[in-house]
């Protein structure tokens, strides 16, 4: 038997069902110095975090910071298909690991995204359905952020390569706003101005 790809209409339906509105669409981020006009340092810090929140609350990040057991997918953040759970190590269940489908790079032939460290964020770092103020408090709480200092949080946001996947998601997915460098600069400036959280 020869392998024949699904007909184009079937494939289109499957892809549409999986990624929802998939068209790549770049959204810009403001630079930290564009907030210099905000005289009050605490208010400036809050404003910087709100800008960084465009990334934090983008589907590329929220999908794998789930509340509960199941990640989401797509710009519309529908439940992950196939049905998967975080498992004991946040890398899936026995027999249904993240790496069962997600390889070390995005795989354009199937449209499945990939990274060597593919996993969901721990439960204590759940962001879905939470306000930006709640996420901000969570980020600074060492009991919930994996014991990270603010400097380590900055390093994670600015340099972690799995975080960086959000700007190179492949498969026609909409990337997170701006660039990882711009995002890192915003988080750095937020910390320098006191790491104030939105009200």
């Amino acid at each position: 038997m020869s392998l024949t790809p699904p007909s184009i209409p079937l494939r289109a339906v499957l892809v549409a069902a999986l990624c929802g509105p998939c068209a790549a669409h770049a959204v810009d981020l403001r630079s930290p110095d564009s907030f210099d006009a905000v005289a009050n340092k605490t208010e400036r810090s809050r404003a910087l975090f709100v800008e960084a929140g465009k990334v934090i609350q983008s589907p590329r990040c929220l999908n794998c910071h789930p509340v509960g057991e199941r990640p989401a997918q797509g710009t519309d953040m529908h439940p992950h298909s196939p049905w998967v759970v975080r498992g004991a190590d946040d890398k899936g269940a026995i027999g249904m690991r993240c790496a069962t489908c997600h390889q070390s790079t995005n795989f354009e032939a199937s449209g499945v995204p990939g990274h060597p460290l593919w996993h969901v964020a721990p439960k204590s770092m759940a962001w879905q359905h939470r306000s930006l103020a709640q996420i901000c408090a969570q980020l600074k709480d060492t009991r919930r952020n994996g014991g990270k200092s603010l400097a380590q949080i900055h390093d994670h946001m600015a340099n972690d390569s799995l975080v960086g996947w959000a700007w190179s998601p492949g498969g026609g997915r909409e990337p997170a706003p701006g660039t990882q460098a711009q995002f890192g600069a915003l988080i750095g400036a937020w910390i320098e101005t006191g790491a104030a959280c939105p009200r």
Partner: protein, 152 residues
């Protein structure tokens, strides 16, 4: 280009682009047609193989992903768990049309290799990515429990 791949205990050379989906290589280049093409986008599980003892959807992994790793297909799977699964599959007459069943057996085998006495929840979680258009799910679950009893 020539690429070396370790499949079912043997090292094989194939002339393929490293970006080729592993499933294509398994079926077209190696002639191992027990592994099935279902959806091509890691949604159905028909193409499941083992790589270093873990399940992998071969439609969604490039040939380069298995360099230096051990691939086992339905033709080569032979662990005690695999033998118990195959026996239970026959005894409970699990298969209807059969198209998805090699993938089902590969996932069930991995589950039992790692957890010889799985709960219903363990089975649901491990098998959630293997779709059966004939709806044999209840027989699959019963057969996994039956295989478990053979192993424990």
């Amino acid at each position: 280009m020539s690429v070396s791949i370790h499949v079912n205990g043997q090292s094989r050379e194939v002339d393929a682009d490293p970006a080729t989906p592993l499933l294509w290589v398994i079926r077209e280049d190696l002639g191992l047609t027990g592994t099935k093409y279902g959806c091509g986008i890691a949604q159905c599980g028909a193409c499941t193989v083992h790589v270093d003892g873990e399940t992998l959807r071969s439609c969604s992994a490039p040939l380069s992903a298995v360099a230096g790793r051990k691939v086992v297909t339905i033709e080569g799977v032979s662990s005690p768990a695999a033998q118990a699964v195959k026996k239970a599959w026959v005894e409970l007459d699990v298969v209807q049309c059969g198209y998805c069943q090699s993938g089902q057996i590969m996932s069930a085998t991995t589950l039992l290799e790692k957890k010889p006495k799985p709960s219903d929840e363990d089975i649901d979680r491990a098998m959630a990515g293997n779709i059966c258009r004939c709806g044999t799910y209840q027989r699959i679950r019963a057969a996994i429990h039956a295989a478990s009893r053979q192993l424990t």
